[in-house]
């Protein structure tokens, strides 16, 4: 089942390869069908998932079964390296509460992204092949339980992203694509080193061989005591934690490694921005939760304060930078930085409330920010500008669009009743309850005010008041005596059309539903998070 959900887009990609590139509609429909099938599979996995099983570490007897679900584990690469012993790389996938929420999010955002890609006209065939590879790689990352496999998917993901920004992007696309590619690659080099170090430090409790299994690595007793990253080697464990953390922090992106994000967003086409903000950023924090923290719990405990500080910096710095932006898409990009800061802050709390909040924030940010980028795309398609001060008074002429923007903006600023509120609230509850991060939380709440400030201000400048004299749209007096809006080369519907509604309405319904009743997502998370907190807990660390 999991393999199918991972490789469905690849199959779609192969089919597209066989379709002549003139048949654009067929290519699109194949991609859409694959994405919808992924969605159906995600729902089936969600239905079949037992939220009582915790995941994170191995179940009884060192086997992943009984803890992880939908597990598939077969030997993939087996080499005999002579004196180094056998090299075992496994195709090992499975889900627990942490990954299943991300799997569902990925399926959802991928499908929305396909719909949003409908307007891509340039090299449609190549675009959708790359898009499908990207979708498969993202999904693969979230279900991998073998570090090597994770690394492979992680690297595969880079390539299509590079081309999708570099070919289908805006005017400065090559700079942005290279920046994105190199930055992420820089992080993954360290990841590779740590991965190899871990391989030689961990033994699979069942076979007794060295292993890349993340499940085995999450249990400290599987480490060889005096190995390079074994419990005795305190210094190297700190170094490994830090470089691994930086590798993931680049993806989050965490201050000061965040500057690739605004550039990538500004240049990327709308669907790629949606994928980038909706799913890709989550891989950074997901990597921390799945790999960084459980493997080095004592270093995690020692660095809570620092992570919290960086979280708070992200929140406030991102919000203030967003306040100063004139490009709407750049503002939304900085808002992503700010909102990912809540995830970091929640993680740094180290308790269940904060971690549940962080995971829930990852999910909610995925849906909300996808909405934000889609809405930015709507106006960019029509007016060919995203300059906030080139509009004014749009609410009078595009009421449905204005209504959607209002709801999405308020979801982003954390209005109760919409999902973002609950996750931010839980993050603060957790961060404040932890003595380490209490004062950080007290400062970080300022982000709530600044967040409201930049969102409401942009809302006012674009939608309220009257048309600005230099606006990017014209007003034409209609036959009914009212003025109508007119974009100079836009042939389509002025207000949201059916395709745009089909993308936005599901996201909006999810945002509202999860804001009123969060348990469908939280219910899957809680047992895993409680287990994770136990694994990370300083109480059990002295036993090492």
């Amino acid at each position: 089942m999991l393999s199918l959900i991972v490789f469905l887009p690849i199959i779609a990609g192969l089919i597209i390869l066989a379709v002549p590139s003139s048949q654009k509609q067929i290519i699109r429909i194949v991609s859409l069908l694959a994405a919808l099938a992924q969605g159906v599979l995600a729902v089936l996995i969600w239905k079949g998932y037992d939220p009582a099983l915790p995941g994170i570490t191995a179940g009884p007897g060192g086997s992943p079964l009984g803890s992880f679900q939908f597990v598939e584990k077969i030997p993939w690469i087996t080499l005999n390296l002579g004196s180094f012993g056998p090299l075992n790389i496994e195709y090992f996938i499975g889900v627990d509460g942490i990954s299943i929420t991300m799997v569902i999010l990925t399926a959802l955002v991928s499908a929305i992204g396909v719909l949003s890609s409908w307007t891509i006209q340039k090299q449609v065939k190549g675009y959708f092949i790359l898009y499908n590879i990207l979708a498969a790689a993202m999904m693969g990352c979230f279900v991998s339980l073998d570090f090597f496999l994770f690394y492979v998917f992680w690297e595969i993901m880079l390539l299509p992203m590079y081309f999708l920004i570099g070919i289908w992007g805006g005017p400065n696309r090559e700079y942005a694509a290279i920046k994105f590619f190199l930055y992420t690659l820089f992080g993954s080099v360290f990841m590779l080193l740590v991965m190899i170090g871990l391989y030689f430090s961990v033994l699979d409790p069942v076979t007794g061989n060295h292993t890349f299994s993340l499940v085995a690595m999450a249990t400290q007793s599987n480490f060889i005591k005096d190995a390079i990253l074994g419990p005795d080697n305190v210094m190297w464990r700190y170094v490994a934690f830090i470089v691994l953390f930086i590798g993931f922090a680049i993806k989050v992106p965490m201050f000061p490694f965040h500057t690739w994000l605004p550039d990538a967003h500004v240049e990327a086409p709308t669907p790629i921005s949606v994928i980038l903000a909706g799913v890709l950023l989550k891989l950074g924090t997901y990597g921390m939760i799945r790999i960084n923290f459980p493997i080095f719990p004592e270093v995690f405990q020692a660095s809570l304060f620092v992570i919290g500080i960086f979280g708070a910096i992200n929140i406030i710095y991102g919000a203030l930078c967003a306040l100063a932006q004139k490009d709407l898409k750049k503002m939304v990009a900085y808002s992503s930085i700010s909102h990912m800061g809540y995830v970091l802050l929640g993680l740094s709390a180290g308790n269940s409330e904060g971690m549940v909040g962080a995971l829930y924030q990852m999910f909610n940010h995925g849906t909300i920010t996808a909405m934000l980028f889609l809405l930015v795309g709507v106006i960019y398609d029509r007016a060919h500008t995203r300059h906030i001060e080139k509009f004014g008074g749009l609410a009078s002429y595009m009421p449905v669009y204005a209504a959607f923007v209002t709801v999405a903006w308020f979801a982003s600023l954390g209005l109760p009743g919409l999902s973002g509120f609950i996750s931010e609230a839980l993050v603060f509850v957790g961060a404040f309850s932890s003595v380490t991060t209490r004062y950080i939380a007290m400062v970080a709440v300022l982000g709530i005010v600044f967040g409201a400030a930049y969102l409401l201000w942009s809302l006012q400048r674009m939608f309220l008041g009257q048309r600005r004299p230099d606006a990017a749209y014209d007003l034409v007096a209609g036959e009914d005596g009212h003025e109508h809006i007119h974009f100079h080369d836009w042939k389509g519907k002025i207000d949201l059309d059916g395709r745009e509604l089909a993308m936005l309405v599901p996201l909006m319904l999810i945002t509202i539903f999860l804001g009123v009743y969060p348990m469908p997502v939280l219910g899957m998370l809680t047992s895993s998070i409680n287990k994770l907190v136990e694994v990370l807990s300083p109480v059990i660390l002295p036993q090492l």
């Binding site: 710095y317 932006q325 269940s352 007290m442 309220l464 907190v533």
Partner: protein, 756 residues
């Protein structure tokens, strides 16, 4: 589930239903669906009235309380805490049932009134939808049994307020005002949120009842200062929502919204939610926190009153008056006059709603003229409005026989008692500011009544261009009135706008609340809303008393009669010590409360005398200035020009905030943005440039040194090869010679080895 709980949930959800129906279907319904809003609110009020009847009239029990809750978020078995759930619930006690009836009644009247006032607006249906979601959120605040859900609905009323202030969003000023309101409220909200977090971090629950029980049981793990901080931070929510100093700046601007909205949200209900919230958390406020609250309330009451006396916009006078009256309520809570403050909340809601709806009627009749300088003489044209407006004004000014008199007097009496108990000195500032504000209130309301209703019409005095601008700003609203505006005929408003005025005015008379026109304490309200016993002792907050714990779980337990009676026996100076020994079960804080209540009772007539004198002074001054023209207001204004400008410009708070916080944030934002593109990203690009430089260097190194070495090797090999090639001639003879030489050489080598 108790049947009252079920009914209250129905009441809560009805306005939400109205919102959902109207936001999606208003264009498909006849009359844009206004009857849906009015009908649903009518039903909600009916049910609320039933709840009120059951709770207040039937039970007539000060300790009445039913509650119900459910698990909203289940966090499972959390390490270090155990099973953890976030629960949501509903509580009904006397305060809730009174608030429920009050909110639904005023909301119903405003809905009804709006069918006249807003008729013809292009977003008429949406307006009723927004009123629906506001009422829903407000009822949520009233019914909440825990801090978390109060916070949720708190922000939701903020949203509805945002939507309604900016209802005429084409106006730049309305868009500014709505943003300002939301942001000012958010500043208050983060304080409130931190206060909630302090309590949650200790108790792992949001429920009022559980928090109070655990506080009383001494389970608060942090120091006393943290508890005081929690109280003050929670109070910050009230500072934002109830427009207390220093966050009061948004409320006057909120008058950009339609006038019925000002009546409902920005006078009667939402802004009073702050006071309601402080009442809910009253028992956990430490004496220090209460002092802060009292001083904030007193200074707000005074400051707003001084601003109100010079404003010319009819709604702005009322707005500052609202701020001032909210200051009274907060002052009342701060000094421990709990019942009086809530009493004032209710009486104020009715008479202030009446005033706003009355001003709406005037504005409507005057074709959107809001400046009192161009009104006058409306008494004859609008008798109903005049009568109700005057009655409500008397209540606001606090003249005997009105409801406002009862409640304001109770607060001021409490303030005197508080000052006595706290030992005088600086604490006397609070009643002094209160009485002085009472005088100012009487003055500015007298001024308003005179300018609007008496004298001759001054419409023709208005400068032409501003006149036109004012109309232009409104023409998006309801253009049909503009057709008539040239004639300037002022009519009494229609029945659907008149009926709410009459009902609200009727509710501003004393006998609704108390049989004694001079003492609210004899009425049902003060009896049903007794001051609850605090759960924090002053000396040692960790060790609350058992009795306090028992009463705390009831949220609104009465002050034990024994303490009041004992303190009343006339041993105030040494009451603390004697009580400390006699009834050790009571903490000092309980006693303090009891003393204040007693001293408040004792000061009852003092307060009446002083406040009556002050009110008469205020009205007298208004008469002297505006009726008898003994003092010319314009000359006076010139004579004390700095003071006049200070008041007219609202103490310059807007300018101060603009120059500090707003500008500061913007400068910080631009600086950080610059820092981000130039320094942080500059470093990234710098590293990239360095790497590229290094790569180019590497390239030349590669070409010259590495490749040079390779080429040198090749060259060497080549040269040697060329030399060696000379040996390869291809002639057999040469090879044979070389072979012979080689063999010869070998033999020479071999024999040499043999010899040595």
């Amino acid at each position: 589930m108790h049947s009252l709980i079920q009914l209250s949930i129905v009441v809560l959800l009805l306005p939400l239903l109205s919102f959902v129906i109207l936001i999606f279907f208003n264009r498909r319904l006849p009359r844009r669906g206004d009857f849906v809003g009015v009908g649903i609110l009518g039903t909600a009020f009916g049910i609320s009235a039933y709840i009120f009847w059951q709770v207040i009239v039937q039970s007539y029990d000060p300790a009445f309380r039913v509650a119900w809750d459910f698990t909203w978020i289940n966090l499972g078995n959390v390490p270090g805490v155990g099973p953890l759930q976030i629960r949501m619930g509903v509580v009904i006690d006397n305060l809730t049932s009174i608030m429920l009836a009050m909110v639904t009644l005023i909301s119903l009247l405003v809905h009804l009134y709006s069918t006249g006032y807003m008729a013809g607006d292009k977003n008429y249906g949406r307006y009723f939808a927004f009123l629906g979601i506001f009422t829903f959120s407000m009822l949520g605040i009233v019914l909440s049994d825990n801090l978390f859900s109060i916070y949720i609905f708190w922000e939701l009323v903020g949203l509805s307020s945002y939507l309604l202030i900016g209802f005429f969003f084409e106006k730049e000023s309305a868009a500014d005002a709505q943003k300002k309101a939301f942001l000012a409220n958010r500043v208050g909200d983060i304080g409130m949120w931190l206060g909630i977090l302090i309590l949650y971090s200790q108790f792992h629950t949001f429920s009022f009842a559980e928090i109070y029980a655990k506080l009383a049981a001494g389970e608060f793990g942090l120091s006393n200062a943290w508890l005081t901080a929690a109280g003050i931070l929670l109070f910050m929510g009230c500072v934002g929502k109830s427009a207390q100093f220093p966050l009061h700046i948004w409320l006057p601007d909120a008058m950009e919204g339609p006038t019925p909205v000002s009546a409902l949200i920005h006078a009667a209900t939402m802004v009073a939610a702050g006071v309601y919230f402080v009442a809910r958390i009253f028992v956990l406020l430490t004496p220090d926190a209460l002092h802060v609250i009292a001083f904030i309330g007193a200074s707000t009451a005074f400051m707003a009153a001084t601003i109100a006396i010079t404003q010319n916009d009819i709604k702005r006078v009322l707005a500052y008056s609202t701020v001032s009256q909210l200051g009274y309520m907060v002052l009342g809570l701060g000094v421990g006059a709990y019942s009086a403050a809530l009493f004032h909340l209710v009486t104020h809601a009715f008479f202030k709603a009446c005033l706003f709806l009355g001003s709406g009627a005037i504005i409507h009749a005057m074709h959107h003229e809001q400046d009192m300088r161009w009104m006058g003489g409306l008494r004859k044209n609008m008798p109903w409005t005049f009568a109700t407006f005057t009655l409500a004004t008397l209540a606001l000014a606090g003249l005997p026989l009105t409801s406002g008199f009862l409640s304001k007097d109770a607060i001021l009496a409490g303030a005197i008692g508080f000052a006595q108990v706290e030992g005088g000195g600086i604490y006397y500032l609070i009643p002094v500011l209160g009485f002085f504000s009472a005088m100012l209130t009487a003055f500015y309301m007298g001024r308003q009544i005179w300018l609007v209703f008496f004298g001759e019409s001054r419409t023709h005095l208005k400068p032409a261009e501003t006149h036109h601008a004012a109309h232009h700003a409104h023409d998006s609203h309801d253009s049909h009135t503009d057709l008539h505006h040239a004639e300037h005929q002022v009519h009494e408003v229609s029945w659907n706008m008149r009926a709410p005025l009459v009902i609200l005015a009727a509710l501003s008379v004393f006998f609704v609340y108390s049989p004694d026109p001079l003492d609210g304490g004899k009425g049902w309200f003060m009896k049903m809303i007794p001051t609850p016993a605090t759960v924090v002792g002053q000396a040692n907050p960790q060790k609350g008393s058992l009795i306090a714990a028992a009463t705390a779980t009831q949220l609104a337990g009465a002050v034990p009669e024994a303490v009041v009676g004992h303190a009343a026996a006339g041993e105030l100076p040494n009451a603390a010590s004697s009580h400390g020994q006699a009834t050790s079960a009571h903490t000092y804080s309980d006693l303090r409360q009891a003393e204040i209540v007693h001293a408040g009772h004792a000061a009852h007539y003092t307060a009446i005398y002083i406040s009556s004198v002050m009110v008469l002074l205020g009205i007298g001054l208004a008469l002297v200035v505006y009726v008898f023209n003994i003092i010319d207001p314009e000359k006076t204004a010139l004579a004390i020009r700095p003071l006049y400008l200070f008041s007219l410009n609202k103490w310059y708070w807007d300018e101060i905030y603009q120059a500090t916080f707003i500008k500061g944030s913007m400068v910080l934002a631009t600086t950080l943005s610059w820092f981000d593109t130039h320094i942080v990203d500059g470093m990234v690009n710098g590293v990239a440039t360095l790497v590229r430089k290094f790569a180019f260097f590497n390239d030349s190194f590669d070409r010259h040194v590495v490749d040079g070495a390779v080429n040198f090797t090749a060259f060497t090999v080549n040269t040697i090869g060329a030399m060696l090639r000379k040996l390869q001639t291809g002639k057999v003879q040469t090879y044979i010679v070389m072979l012979i030489l080689a063999v010869f050489g070998y033999f020479v080598f071999y024999f040499t080895r043999l010899i040595y």
